[in-house]
């Protein structure tokens, strides 16, 4: 049986490469651009359009 995988598309704000995201992507989700390896964050999701921004730098109180 053929599996149907639904994906969403976005553009890397750093290198303009297309970024493919799974259909269960969430706002504030961290993703990595496969083209330039930048850490990105999902800023907003509007139907099939996802806006990505550069992830903030790691802060001193971040962790587990």
């Amino acid at each position: 049986m053929l599996a149907i995988i639904v994906t969403m598309k976005a553009i890397c704000p750093i290198c303009d490469a297309p970024v493919t995201l799974s259909n269960d992507v969430e706002p504030s989700e961290v993703v990595t651009c496969k083209e330039c390896s930048s850490r990105l964050v999902v800023e907003s999701i509007d139907k099939q359009s996802v806006t990505l921004i550069q992830a903030p730098d790691i802060e001193e109180d971040w962790g587990e």
């Binding site: 269960d24 504030s28 989700e29 961290v30 001193e60 971040w62 587990e64």
Partner: protein, 281 residues
Amino acid sequence: MITLALLHSTIRGDEKLIIRAAKKRNIHLKLIDIRGGVFNPHTYIADFDVALERSVSTVKGDYAIQFLEAIGVPVVNSSAVSRVCEDKFMTSLVLQKAHVATPDFALVFGIEEAKQAIESLGGYPVVIKPPAGSWGRLLAKVNDVDALEAVIEHKDVLGSPQQKAIYIQQYMKKPGRDIRAFVIDGVTICAIYRVAEHWITNTARGGVARRCSVTNELSDICQRASEAVGGGILAMDIFETGDGFMINEINHTMEFKNSEEPTKVSISGAIVDYCIKQVRK
């Protein structure tokens, strides 16, 4: 239907696993990015039954927990557990008081006191850590007094006020690995070895996760450590020594996405189940 609020400041792979686990259990999950919160007790509407705190920022997470507890919402983990686990000095004090094996330690504020403390810990090497820190950042293995003076001078000149509290821990020689045990409600549900040639074995620093069997000895120390810090959902970093296991650190908002595959245990599922249990108590 129970509504579980997932408090976050970013969605990592770990939170994605929790979201999927909640969907499988038909639990209504409300994602709350606490960075956008207005925590005013007169206006805040808590339309959920229990909250799971998963903020990557300790400071923001702490305030969110304290606020929700103050308005009567149960939070996992509680503020009492977070307060102990987010600070290595507090964790060590609590473990030692409960007679749970842990490396010897001291906290000082200056170079002369650090020298005295190291002598009382049995000499070099020692490990200096920020009391509140994670992912293996800013750990220093200090082999001699020259290195000690350099590390402390750097902290004095460049560090934030928090960095000027100097937590010193006895250095424990590891067999190329340590153990991370996942402990929920006092029960060790699974464990991994974190294998690395470097003395820092955090997976965030390149340590590789391999399955570790949960023995009675491991379960026992984890159960006692969990009880000492107040229970909840915990990840314990454990040294294997000639005298048995020793608890190194305990994490209260653990990352686990690399551990489900080697252990074949749904840690995310166990987290959601524990949260549901808090509502039905």
